[in-house]
Subunit: 402 residues, 2 copies
DNA sequence: GCTATTTCGTCATGGCCGTTTACAAATTAG
DNA sequence: CTAATTTGTAAACGGCCATGACGAAATAGC
C-alpha cells in the first residue's frame, strides 16, 4: 500500500512511487481511473487524448482495470459523430467501497460510498457522546460499521478502507485522537479500539469536511479556506488541491486566532481568541440562551423569528469571524472562503457582518465567501470519499486484493 | 523547458513531466543531480543505493550528465573500506550558473552562483531608488547583470537564468510588479525592461528570502514561516518544502493582519494592522526618530546604546508581531518561525516580547522562533539559487543548451 | 443504396529504459 | 599470496509506451 498525497497523514512527502517502469504503469493506471471518474463515461480514445497516451497504451491499461473490477464496459456509445462509436467505460459500481464514519458530539454515523461516489449504505445512531469514555462509543461505532459493511457486501461491494472523522485534533499517525474537548477524549488510539480488518484512517472532521467540499462541491477552487464549527471553530486550508496539515497535524486552529488581544481569557491561555466571540458557547451566552440539545437549530429558529438578541449575537460573531478571516486571507490569499458545518445553517445572519468586515479591511476586491452546499453531511462524506480517492490514486494497490 | 515546482510561479500544478519513458528518464536525471548536490562527492554505487536504482542504470544517467557538463568526475575515492574504491562524482563548477538580482530601496545587487552553490561573481551599487521610475533603475540593473554575466563567463560558466527579487507584490506571471510601495512602482512589466537573453523570473524579496533560508539555512525545516521586513512586513509560508503563493501570488501579507481591530487606520483600508505597530515607519515614530538613510542601523545602534524610547518601541513591535504570529501559527502549525531581513538585525530587542506573547497565547509548547543566519543577503542568494534549483530539478532542459 | 471518409479498438513491431547476470578491476582481511 | 568484498561496465532480458497498419462501425456525399 502506498499512501496517496491527500490521505489523512501521508507518511513521507516525496514521490510515493519509485521511478521505474512499474511505478510509471501504476501512475498511468491512476490517471485513467481519475479521468474516467471525473468525466463520466468515456471511450478509450477519449481517455487517451485526455491523458496524452496513445489509444494502444490506454487499451492495455483499461484491460487491466476491467479485469480488476475497477472499470466497467458499458457497451457502444450512441453515435452522434462520424466514425465508429467508442465503447463507453465507467467506474465500476461493484468494486471497492469506502467506508466513512463520524463520531459527532450528538450522534454516530457510518456510510459506504462506491467508486462512482454514490452512497450505497448508511447507518446512524443519535444520542449524546459527550463525556462517555471512548471504549463504549467506539464499540457502538464498530457495530454500525459492521452493519454498513454487510449491507455493502450484499450489493457486491467490498470495503477498501475505513476513515473516521472526529471532532478533535488527530496526530499525524492518523490513528490517535490527541484532544477532543467536546468528547473529553485525550490521547486515544482508535487503532486499537476499532478491530475491523480493513485499513483505518482517523482525521479531524473539519479536514474531512473541507475535502468533501473540494471533491463534491460545485466550482470549488483548488485553493480555499474551509471554516466549520461544531463547538470549537476549525478551519482547513486547502492549497493546490491538498490539505495543509502542519507539522503536528494541528493546522487550521482558527478558533484561537487572537481577535481582540486584550479580550476575555480563553482556556487555551490566550486572550480574546475568536472562540470567545464566535464559539457556540459564547454566542449562546451573548444571545441569552442556555446550552441544550439542538443548539444550532435553536439559534437558527430564534433568528428566523426575528429575535433581536440572537441576531445581534450572530452579527457580532460574524464580525469576529470577519476579523480573524482577514488575517487568514492576508496570509494565504485563497480563492475563496467556504463556510461549512454548523456555520452554513447560520450563514444568513453571520454573512453580512462577516463580509462587511472582510471587505472593509481588504485593499482591492475582497475574498469571496460562500456557503457549503453539503452542510452537516460534509465530514461523513469526506471520510468515505477519502478512501475512494485512495483507490483512484493507486488502483494497483487494491487490484491485488481482488 | 518545464517549470519546476518551486519556481517563482509555476504555470500548472500537476506533474510537470509526462508519464512516459522519457519523462521517467528526466526525473531520474534530476534525482541523480539532487543526490550528488545534496550529499557531496558520491560514487555511482552510493547514488544508486540512495535513489533506489541499480548501479548500471545510474552509470548511464551519470554518463549523460557528465557529457552535458553538469557532473564532474573527481577520480578515485580514498579507500577506507574493503572493496574497490568508487570514483567520486561532484556537481560541476564549470556548467550553468544562476544569476540573482535584487532591487532594494537603497541599492541594487547582482550575483552569479554555480551549481555547487558558490557565489562566483557579484556587483553592487548603492543609492536610493525610492521614487525613481522603473526604466532607469532597470537599465542600471541591466548593466550590473551584464558585468556579472561577463565575469562568470570568464570563469567558464554560462548563465542559465536570471531571477530578480523586488520589494513588492509580483503577479503570478513572474514578470509583473503589481505594487511596490517603497519604490512607488505599479504594474510594471520587468520582462520588457530587462533585455537579457536568458529566462527571467521576478518574485517578492520575502519569497526569495524564505527560499534561501530553506535551501541554505542550517537545520531549516520543510514547514516554516519566514518573516521579513524592509519597510512593509512580509511573510512567506513554506509548506512541505514549497512556497505557498496564493491564488493571485499575494500570500504572506502579514503586515495587514489585524492586531487590534479598533486600532489606527491603515492605508490598506483596515484598522490596527500589524504594520501600524511593527512597520518601520511606525517603530521610528514610536521611538521618536526621523526617517533617514540607514534606518535599521540607526534603530539597532540606539537600542544597543540603551535608548529606552527605542527599546520600548521595539518591545511594542515585538508584542504586535507576537500577536499576529499567534494567529498565523495557529492556522499553519509550522515547525518554526524564522525572522529574516531587517528583523534579524533587530531581533535582540524584538524577540523577548515576541516570544513571550506567542508563548502566553499558545496551549502547549510554543512554536520556536529563530533568527536567520543569512540576514540581508537572503533575497539575493535565494534568487540566484532558485535558478540553480531549476537546473537541478530538470537537468535535461539545460543539457540541450550546452 | 453505394462508396469514401472518419473514428475506434487492436495487433505486431520497434525503441527506450531499468533490471538481471556476469565479469574484470581494485581494494582489504587473513 | 589468496579469499572476500565492492565498484563500474557490458550484454541479454523484460516491461512499457509509441508507431503504423488493419478491420470494424458509424456518417457524408452522390
Amino acid at each position: 500500500m502506498t499512501a496517496p498525497l491527500h490521505q489523512a497523514h501521508p507518511a513521507g512527502s516525496g514521490r510515493a512511487l519509485p521511478d521505474t517502469q512499474q511505478g510509471m504503469r501504476r501512475r498511468n493506471l491512476a490517471r485513467v481511473m481519475h479521468t474516467v471518474s471525473a468525466e463520466g463515461p468515456l471511450s478509450r480514445a477519449a481517455v487517451a487524448s485526455r491523458i496524452g497516451l496513445t489509444r494502444a497504451a490506454v487499451s492495455t491499461l483499461v484491460d487491466e482495470l476491467v479485469r480488476s473490477g475497477l472499470l466497467q464496459e458499458l457497451g457502444p456509445e450512441r453515435p452522434g459523430r462520424v466514425g465508429r462509436p467508442g465503447s463507453a467505460l465507467a467506474v465500476s459500481g461493484h468494486g471497492p467501497a469506502g467506508i466513512g464514519a463520524e463520531v459527532g458530539v450528538d450522534h454516530l454515523a457510518v456510510c459506504a460510498v462506491d467508486l462512482r461516489g454514490e452512497v450505497r449504505a448508511r447507518a446512524v445512531r443519535h444520542g449524546a457522546n459527550r463525556g462517555r469514555s471512548p471504549a463504549p462509543v467506539i464499540e457502538e461505532l464498530t457495530g454500525l460499521v459492521r452493519r454498513v459493511v454487510a449491507e455493502a457486501q450484499g450489493q457486491g461491494l467490498w470495503p477498501a478502507g475505513l476513515a473516521v472523522a472526529v471532532p478533535g485534533l488527530v496526530a499525524r499517525d492518523a490513528r490517535t485522537v490527541v484532544r477532543a474537548p467536546n468528547l473529553d477524549w485525550h490521547d486515544t488510539d482508535l487503532g486499537g479500539l476499532l478491530p475491523v480488518g480493513i485499513p483505518l484512517t482517523v482525521d479531524n472532521e473539519a479536514n474531512f469536511g473541507a475535502l468533501a467540499e473540494l471533491w463534491l462541491g460545485e466550482d470549488t477552487p483548488r485553493d480555499f479556506l474551509h471554516v466549520s464549527a461544531e463547538i470549537g471553530i476549525g478551519a482547513a486550508v486547502v492549497v493546490d488541491g491538498r490539505l495543509l496539515r502542519g507539522t503536528r497535524g494541528f493546522a487550521g486552529e482558527l478558533g484561537h486566532v487572537p481577535v481582540r488581544p486584550d479580550g476575555p481569557e480563553c482556556p487555551c491561555g490566550g486572550r480574546g481568541c475568536l472562540e470567545q466571540y464566535a464559539g457556540e458557547e459564547a454566542v449562546l451566552r451573548a444571545a441569552g440562551l442556555e446550552p441544550g440539545e439542538d443548539r444550532v437549530g435553536l439559534l437558527a429558529g430564534r433568528a428566523e423569528d426575528g429575535d433581536e438578541d440572537v441576531r445581534g449575537a450572530l452579527r457580532d460573531a460574524g464580525e469576529a469571524l470577519g476579523i480573524a478571516l482577514t488575517g487568514a486571507v492576508n496570509l494565504l490569499d485563497p480563492e475563496s472562503v467556504v463556510l461549512g458545518g454548523a456555520l452554513s445553517g447560520l450563514s444568513p445572519w453571520l454573512l453580512p457582518s462577516l463580509q462587511a468586515e472582510l471587505a472593509r479591511r481588504t485593499a482591492g476586491p475582497a475574498c469571496p465567501v460562500t456557503v457549503s452546499r453539503l452542510g452537516p453531511e460534509g465530514p461523513l462524506l469526506g471520510a468515505a470519499h477519502s478512501v475512494v480517492r485512495g483507490v483512484l490514486d493507486d488502483p494497483a494497490s487494491v487490484a491485488e486484493r481482488v
